[in-house]
């Protein structure tokens, strides 16, 4: 039967995967003030770039991951320069529709490049190491962890920490937070909001690209809809944490990740409903605390 603690561990791993995507989405949401529906495609692209590096070119996985980070980051810059500069004053709804168009476009490009057949990273299989066998009452706290799990959690946390340092220590990072706080004041203060926006796209893309790599490592298979399939959960994490707050997104990602997994312990709820469970938590939190858990704070 299910090992209860194992579910929590699985949740942490899944939470780590959506963590990077959530931070990136939240940054764009906060600073650009719109929901980027193409974010799922960023993830997919990150996964496929990793595939291209690791499988097609035979590079080490971390080099492939770095490629995903850089490539999707660069794509973010490209999108911002070509498409988004015209839309600096557009309403959120225009931007939302725009990103839906972008999502369809990117997914078609991914299909044209890599086809519809699923691809596999072919990472070596590994049996999870057993830790902490035993149980207390009905709670079985035995867990198994693989080095991939650890790598995923580690990498996600390293990048999250890096993002935190960037946002709090660098001039550009603080400018991003300032712009998220108050766009017009940022302009008044002489902040080059155009550049800040471009950097935000780059960072958001780069984090999503790496998130895509983690997703590919976890699932093992790649397909053009993979990012879109989890983007709703990413949105749930972002909203749960409070839109525009990357720290909230971190909390949100882990809560959603763990809650989803643990939800299978509820009797009578099929495993298929765990995505629904993520949304129900989100809505419950919104009703109780409409600003999200972080209350709009950074």
């Amino acid at each position: 039967m299910a090992l209860e603690l194992q579910l929590v561990v699985n949740g942490i791993v899944f939470g780590s995967i959506i963590l990077l995507a959530s931070i990136g989405l939240s940054l764009l949401y906060g600073i650009g003030d719109f929901a980027n529906f193409a974010h799922g495609e960023f993830l997919t692209l990150g996964a496929f770039i990793t595939f291209a590096g690791y499988v097609t070119f035979g590079l080490p996985i971390y080099v492939a991951g770095l490629m995903a980070f850089l490539f999707v980051g660069a794509l973010g810059v490209l999108i911002d320069r070509i498409l988004m500069t015209r839309h600096r004053d557009s309403t959120p709804i225009i931007l939302l529709i725009l990103t839906i168009g972008l999502a369809l476009f990117l997914r078609a490009v991914i299909r044209l490049q890599w086809g519809d057949n699923q691809r596999t990273l072919g990472m070596p299989l590994e049996r999870g190491t057993e830790l902490l066998q035993g149980s207390v009452g009905w709670i079985d706290y035995g867990i198994r962890i693989t080095s991939t799990d650890i790598a995923i959690v580690f990498l996600a946390l390293v990048l999250a920490t890096g993002t935190h340092l960037f946002l709090t220590r660098t001039r550009m990072g603080i400018a991003m937070r300032a712009m998220s706080d108050n766009k017009s004041l940022a302009k008044v203060a002489g902040i080059d909001t155009d550049t800040v926006m471009t950097v935000t796209w780059a960072l958001s893309g780069a984090l999503a690209g790496t998130g895509g790599m983690l997703l590919a490592m976890q699932t093992g298979v790649l397909f053009p809809r993979m990012g879109f399939n989890i983007v709703l959960v990413v949105f749930a994490a972002v909203i749960l944490g409070g839109i525009g707050s990357p720290y909230g997104a971190m909390i949100g990602a882990y809560i959603i990740g763990i809650a989803q997994e643990v939800s299978v312990m509820i009797p009578g709820i099929s495993a298929e409903y765990r995505y629904a469970f993520a949304f129900l938590i989100m809505i419950a939190v919104l009703l109780y605390k409409p600003q999200g858990l972080a209350g709009g704070r950074w």
Partner: protein, 445 residues
């Protein structure tokens, strides 16, 4: 639509078959005409009404003998969830078409026109409307998923009296469609495989299992058939766990399947999800404790190439038997390999057979129209004729006035009165990471 309400459709079809055979020997056309006539009174009018578009074709095929073109539609999931199947259907059908059009049938060539079903009924119906009404095809093939197939059959092909050959739609429910004989399949119903799989699991002395099932028409249909037979054999299904395709993790499903009362886990999912599942199952140490079984959907290059053998070695399951040892299949596989530089899947074989049967049926009928194909396709596949496996053989036998029995790459493709080929299944075991066929399953029926 399920008018038959026959709770035991499989058995009844078994019972009825000998009768059909007997009558068919006397005159298959009469039986089929009867079948079609059974729908509504407008039989005579059908031919006329239908031929608004195909008259031109008939004319050219009759007169020319050299340059006629027979438009056949293929609704294929080029996008959407089942997109990976589209290329298989294209490869299999193109391979058949190159042979058909080399030889020419009834003095003409088959022209395949494709349209995207997007794996949804809304788009699939639009796509087939375009093929049937805009392009004027007389025969429609595809699409992939059974749900879309039924929508198209009910909304487009049956009302338009278009012969509809399904290539990958294996849902048992399709057998019972009230189709006036227009709906045929080149793939067997999963009702048969469910029985075979139940037999294999039971024969391995596994008396209780957890099922992980992709929750679509394919998975549910197969799981139902499995469950029914498995219980008849005196075993128990502990839980049936639905799993949607395309998820990034199935650990929750696997945890649920990890049930102390189960001795085995049966996967009825597509390769894509299976690769994720088996990876997680291995990490969780699940196959240490359970015997693992799988349906035919596992048997694929993807799984062989991408899954580490240690994770799947010893796994067992069933596969509709392309008679791998048979010459027909060997030739098919060889040509396929030459053409596409890869091994064919069973799905490519079904697509290949659908088009081969179509080609032979056109030649046998001597004309191209929906009704002519629907009738002739039974004739060229029935067991009484000379066995043939290529267009050239078939043509020479037919031209000599002999009845033929097409032997397909996917099996003997003898269509029953519901337009279904009977399935025969091999059981396989994964040895050193490859699916090794172990011989045919005797379902005892």
């Amino acid at each position: 639509m399920m008018t038959d309400n026959d709770p035991n459709a499989d058995d009844s079809s078994m019972n009825r078959r000998p009768i059909l055979k007997t009558v068919a020997a006397g005159g298959a056309t009469a039986v089929l005409a009867g079948c079609i006539g059974g729908g509504d009174g407008g039989d005579g009018g059908n031919g006329d009404g239908n031929d608004g578009s195909s008259d031109g074709d008939d004319g050219s095929s009759d007169s020319g003998g050299g340059g006629a073109t027979y438009d056949v539609g293929l609704v294929n999931p080029y996008s959407g969830d089942l997109a990976p199947f589209a290329d298989r259907n294209d490869r299999g059908s193109d391979l058949a078409l190159s042979e058909i059009n080399n030889e020419s049938v009834a003095g003409g060539k088959i022209n395949k026109i494709t349209a995207d079903s997007e794996t949804t009924s809304n788009a699939g119906v639009s796509a087939s409307q375009k093929l049937v009404n805009q392009e004027g095809v007389d025969v429609l093939t595809g699409p992939c998923s059974s749900g879309v197939a039924v929508s198209i059959a009910e909304s487009v092909t049956i009302p338009n009296e278009i012969t509809h050959i399904m290539i990958n739609s294996t849902a048992p429910g399709i057998t019972d469609l009230e189709d006036n004989g227009y709906v045929l399949r080149s793939c067997p119903s999963d009702a048969f495989q469910g029985q075979a799989l139940a037999q294999v699991v039971s024969d391995n002395d596994i008396s209780s299992v957890s099922l992980i099932v992709v929750n679509n028409d394919y998975g549910q249909g197969l799981a139902d058939a499995f469950q029914k037979r498995y219980k008849e054999l005196g075993n128990t299904v502990e839980t049936t766990i639905p799993a949607e395709q395309g998820r990034s993790s199935y650990s929750a499903q696997l945890n649920e399947a990890d049930n102390p009362n189960s001795e085995g886990i049966v996967f009825i999912v597509y390769p894509q999800s299976f690769q994720t599942m088996i990876r997680e199952a291995y990490q969780m140490g699940i196959q240490e404790n359970y015997e693992i079984f799988g349906a035919e959907s596992m048997v694929s290059d993807e799984v062989e190439q991408n899954v580490d053998p240690v994770a799947i070695n010893g796994m067992k399951g069933t596969n509709p038997s392309p008679p791998i040892e048979s010459e027909v299949y060997q030739t098919f596989a060889e040509e396929f390999q030459n053409e596409y530089d890869r091994q064919p899947t069973v799905w490519a074989a079904y697509a290949y057979d659908a088009y081969m049967m179509l080609g032979l049926a056109i030649h046998s009928a001597g004309e191209y129209s929906s009704d002519a194909v629907a009738n002739a396709i039974y004739e060229i596949s029935r067991p009484e004729g000379t066995e043939v496996s290529s267009i050239a053989e078939g043509k020479s036998e037919l031209d000599a006035g002999n009845a033929i029995n097409y032997q397909g790459a996917s099996g003997n493709v003898n269509l029953d009165e519901n337009g279904d080929p009977s399935g025969s299944y091999q059981h396989w075991e994964v040895i050193d990471g490859t699916f090794e066929m172990q011989g045919f399953v005797d379902t005892g029926q």
